[in-house]
Amino acid sequence: MSALPPDLSQSGIDAEVAKAQASATTEHHPPRDFPPYRSSALRHPKHPPIPLRDPEAVELSGPAFGTTDIGPLDQDLTRHHTGEPLGERITVAGHVLDRRGRPVRRQLVELWQANAAGRYAHQRDQHPAPLDPNFTGFGRCLTDDEGRYSFTTIRPGAYPWRNHTNAWRPAHIHFSLFGEAFTQRLVTQMYFPGDPLFPFDPILQAVTEQSARDRLVATYDHDLSVPEWSLGYRWDIVLDGPAATWFEDEEEGHR
């Protein structure tokens, strides 16, 4: 390693990203050790994970959620206050599937995001962009029997985050998902097509394959746009996890 202090310019980070991507060995998910994302330095294990090969493992089952866990307005983030939030109203919808393409039914999808100005309703977010009294930015829903989810929300703004000089996150929506097995758990972020900030963001670039990064970007879907109301973005989500492969020879419907 160089004894020089780390270069916190965007070009210095870009060079680190290129180097880290060239040596990455993970295929789909980002490596937990990704030096250009500074916060990962002390928060990634050094030991390789231990493979779990027990067919009786509790991790192959998972929590259940139902209509009592969901409020009637939870999936419309524009209805959580008395007034209309500022910004571009959008519909975000898609399917949640497992790696065999089967729908993930009746499972919880949670979503949270910054407002149209790029500010989170969180005290530690000190980005001097306005809070919106009519937008909190948190929603949830259950997938239906086809594995479909749908949210009405506001297109979030980009925001600065101090990882390096002039670091800006591309606009994104955070997602949290459950499958049938605890091992299918996923927390990730959805991006918007054509964002010019993609190449500068070490968090997105921690997903080292272009094809894998592309899977985090929603598609504008005109058929999903609601006339006089909202623009539609489609984003399908595929949950990883050994439940997709371990039970290859078994009947469907296992837990």
């Binding site: 929590p63 959620f65 927390v187 985090l216 996890g241």
Partner: protein
């Protein structure tokens, strides 16, 4: 028909620093029905590679019910249909699922019932800086016959065993060390 194809998975991303207004829910760590006599407390810290507490993490727990049932039950995040706000659990059903943010000292705690049929509960850790969450297990009792424990060297296996806290009623300590000395054993599940 066999499924010859596999879809590539959606990549994981960090939960970031600002999940606190969104993901935690009332009574997230209180899995045990109120005043249940078998209630046990599992508590610990999340620590980074410098040994410092991680104040912007959350831990999820998933476990069988005391009867060994692994189907769970809805209602962990119960909503009040009148106000739309979090209502807390119904105080009767055991859902098997909990979620707890770490506090400023990196501390978390759950109150739960003993898992039926296995000596462990499943944990998952999410944090700013962690691009892909981590799975581990807290064993409430050592079990020489356990397949996972017996596959590990002595020193590493010790990181999975929750220690009874002397003088505290049915209380166990389980620290999660993300990196470095005493690094917790994490499980590869994908």
């Amino acid at each position: 028909m066999t499924y010859s194809y596999e879809l590539p998975p959606t990549p994981s991303h960090t939960v970031g620093p600002f999940f606190g207004y969104a993901l935690p829910f009332p009574e997230g760590g209180d899995l045990a029905p109120a005043h249940h006599p078998d209630t046990l407390t599992l508590r610990g810290r999340v620590l980074d590679g410098a040994g410092d507490p991680v104040p912007d993490a959350f831990v999820e727990i998933w476990q069988p019910g005391p009867d060994g049932s692994r189907t769970g039950a809805p209602g962990s995040m119960r909503r009040d249909p009148v106000t739309g706000q979090g209502a807390g659990r119904n105080g009767v059903d055991f859902t098997g699922f909990g979620r707890i943010s770490t506090d400023a000292d990196g501390q978390w705690a759950v109150h739960t019932l003993p898992p039926g049929g296995v000596p462990y509960v499943c944990l998952a850790v999410f944090a700013r800086g962690l691009m892909h969450h981590l799975h581990t297990r807290a064993y409430l009792a050592d079990d020489p016959a356990d397949a996972l424990l017996s596959s590990l060297p002595e020193q590493r296996r010790a990181t999975l065993i929750a220690e009874p806290v002397p003088g505290a009623h049915r209380t166990y300590r389980f620290d999660i060390r993300l990196q470095g000395e005493g690094e917790t054993v994490f499980l590869e599940t994908a």
